[in-house]
């Protein structure tokens, strides 16, 4: 550790300068619900949003005036900026929640903001069914901002240098370079989101109108549901979540949006270019196809054995929908959470836990371990078995496709295994923490820990506005870790250590 150099004040200023840019973006995002609140004559909500936005803009303005620098970002800076941005961003985004009167403690408001930004979708809001329109819209809008990556907002709009932006892009767990230039990649992601925003909202509006909603209410639900579904967030305008709508057509549109949200942006790019073969041979697509088939078979068997549903329609609308919601890391529910415990038997919830742990694709808005890592871990395992079975002189080469065919290297497999292991350790920490309170059964504690740690949002009932504050704090950190997939957070810890114990640069 003696070789670790202590960062200087200039490094901290550089980090502060970029954090200011992130807060500038967040301040603009918070202004949108302020406009909604003013137009809906929700005065207290409007002033809460103006306060939240103004605080962001004050810090952004002062950082621009006092900390501006032309120094280049290093990878360490990028990692630290992203890790801190997600924490500080959640605190600033929580200000309107703290002022809403719907959160008992500041921690609960920060939990809600972190859940929204990380697109987890767990909520601790009191009395959601009487929430102002603008506040509800804000919750969903945050999922959109977080799902697209708040740092990407900075990249594409406020940062001029592509190389500078690249370090932030990768640190935000978005390591797939779709286009040679990071700015163009970020803008492509916006183009995809923008297209889906228009098409998805229209489709939901049509389905909701067909389902019996008035046009104005259909539009309100459609916009919020789009944000929550495409960005695999899982919030809902009503406490009953998707069960509120009683509509197969709404569920179908939401399922399509959830699947679209869980596809990596690289695959979206391939599909936009008219290259569906890329989708079929991609390791992640194949991993998700195999695992979702296995999990659905297990889940359906579990539901039949438990006698939960006696028709294929019910198994599809409740079982398949929930599985897609879990695998895409969205978290929409077509059942009250406690019924997973009291009406789904044992096997079906176990299948859900497995699906939630794996999550969706890398470089998408989905959470979880990610299909690519599970696929790579499986490939590494079969590679080792083949090496044992073949003669010593034989050369074994394992390949996989992520858009182009690649040879599986030890470093790649080790990296995938490490993150996989870290996720499992996080699930265990969350489970044990819940069990320590003595209020939850093992099934509940494990289910919820996996759901929170993977940024899923399907709840069995542990997450609640009245839950213990210590557990709420642990879950908040788990959502942060899960979204950044550990690397940026470890870099932050290392940076803090270097500040405290590193050597000064002579």
């Amino acid at each position: 550790m003696r070789m670790v150099l202590r960062p200087g004040p200039d490094d901290l200023k550089l980090i502060g300068y970029y954090l200011g840019k992130v807060l500038f973006g967040l301040g603009l995002v918070i202004l949108i619900p302020a406009i909604v609140a003013l137009s809906a004559r929700e005065w207290n909500a409007a002033t809460a949003f103006i306060i939240g936005s103004s605080l962001c803009l004050i810090v952004a303005g002062l950082s621009e005036a006092l900390l501006a620098t032309k120094r280049s970002l290093t990878w360490a800076h990028g990692m630290v900026i992203v890790a801190v941005a997600w924490l500080v961003g959640a605190i600033f985004a929580a200000v309107p929640f703290m002022l809403s009167g719907r959160f008992e403690t500041p921690l609960a408001a920060i939990f809600e903001a972190m859940s929204a930004l990380t697109t987890t979708g767990m909520s601790v809001i009191h009395d959601l069914d009487h929430t102002p329109l603008s506040e509800d819209f804000y919750r969903h809008l945050l999922q959109f901002a977080g799902g697209q990556g708040i740092v990407i907002v900075v990249l594409s709009l406020f940062v001029s240098g592509g190389a500078q932006a690249g370090t932030l892009y990768a640190a935000e767990a978005r390591d797939e370079r779709i286009l040679p230039n990071f700015i163009r990649t970020a803008r492509f992601i916006f183009a995809v989101a923008g297209t889906f925003l228009v098409v998805g909202t229209l489709a939901l509006f049509g389905a909701l109108t067909f389902a019996g909603f008035t046009p104005s209410r259909a539009l309100y639900h459609a916009i919020n549901l789009f944000f929550a579904s495409f960005d695999t967030g899982g919030f809902s305008p009503m406490q009953a979540s998707m069960a509120y709508y009683h509509s197969f057509s709404v569920e179908l549109v939401v399922m399509v949006l959830m699947i679209a949200g869980t596809l990596s942006f690289g695959l979206h790019f391939a599909l936009w270019r008219g290259d569906p073969k890329n989708l079929l041979r991609h390791l992640e697509t194949r991993t998700l196809a195999v695992t979702s088939t296995l999990f659905f078979a297990t889940l359906a068997t579990g539901l039949v054995l438990a006698g939960t549903y006696d028709s294929a329609t019910a198994v599809f609308r409740k079982g398949f929908f929930t599985l897609i919601s879990a695998m895409s890391s969205t978290g929409h529910q077509v059942n009250a959470g406690v019924t997973y415990l009291t009406d789904w038997g044992v096997l079906a919830p176990a299948a859900l836990v497995g699906a939630m742990a794996i999550g969706g694709m890398a470089s998408s808005t989905a959470g979880g371990i990610k299909a690519i890592r599970v696929g790579l871990a499986f490939k590494a395992l079969t590679h080792d078995i083949r090496r044992i079975l073949l003669p010593e002189s034989a050369i074994t080469v394992t390949t996989y496709s992520t858009g182009r065919r690649q040879v599986l290297r030890d470093a790649t497999a080790r990296s995938a295994m490490t993150v996989l292991l870290l996720f499992i350790v996080t699930y265990l920490i969350g489970t044990v923490t819940a069990l320590l309170y003595g209020e939850y059964a093992l099934t509940e504690a494990l289910f919820e820990a996996v759901s929170v740690g993977s940024n899923i949002g399907v709840s069995i009932g542990v997450v609640d506005p009245l839950m213990p504050q210590g557990l709420m704090a642990v879950y908040t950190v788990m959502m942060w870790l899960g979204r950044l997939e550990y690397v940026a957070v470890f870099a932050l810890v290392g940076y803090l250590f270097a500040i405290a114990r590193g050597r000064t640069n002579a």
Partner: protein, 228 residues
Amino acid sequence: MNVSMLRLLSLPLAILVAITAGAYWLDRVAPELDLDVVVDVPPPALADVPRCMGENDSAVATAIGNQFPESGRVTSSQLLNCPRAFDQKTVTFTGEVVGELIMRRGGVWAHVNDDPYALIYGPLVGHSAHVGFNSGVAVWFPDGTHEIIETVGRHAIRGDVVKIVGTFLRADPNDGGGLTLRADSVSVLAEGFTVDEPLHTLQLVVAAVLLAGALAALGLAQFVRRRR
């Protein structure tokens, strides 16, 4: 770690603490209303319904079902704790209609909450009773039963509180396996009303001051950028 580094690190932390504490305090001093919205409902037919989970859940469900009287009152938490105990039984359910009446051929779907916001405190506006999530059940109101419902609960609106006698279905085949209550008869116990949300004047002043501060900070940033 030298003094300037400590200062650089502690300043942002102090700002975050100040923002959080300030927002918390501002929320605590919000003006409150003196609302009296308690709806008098009889206690549930069964005092306690344990969660039906584990190996012996069907035996527990059967025992609870046998104890439950015809058309007895249930709460949503009891229905969710042990859905099988009440499956296809006639129950009485009381709660506030929230969201909207979703029009369908032959009737409407509506969500009916029986949580403390619905029956005791009213919508979370102008009071600070934090009593958790909303809780309720989906109700199918056939034509001829829903016409008496005039107000649905939304922000600052307490919807009609209705008493429903109907059949509880744990996995309703006409709702894709949803957990529903099929209403046979409905009566309104308390009519809905709008709550006049009091303006939080202090919050308005703080918002105006901070907005001016934000404009000044952005102006300063622009000025410094031009001089550079």
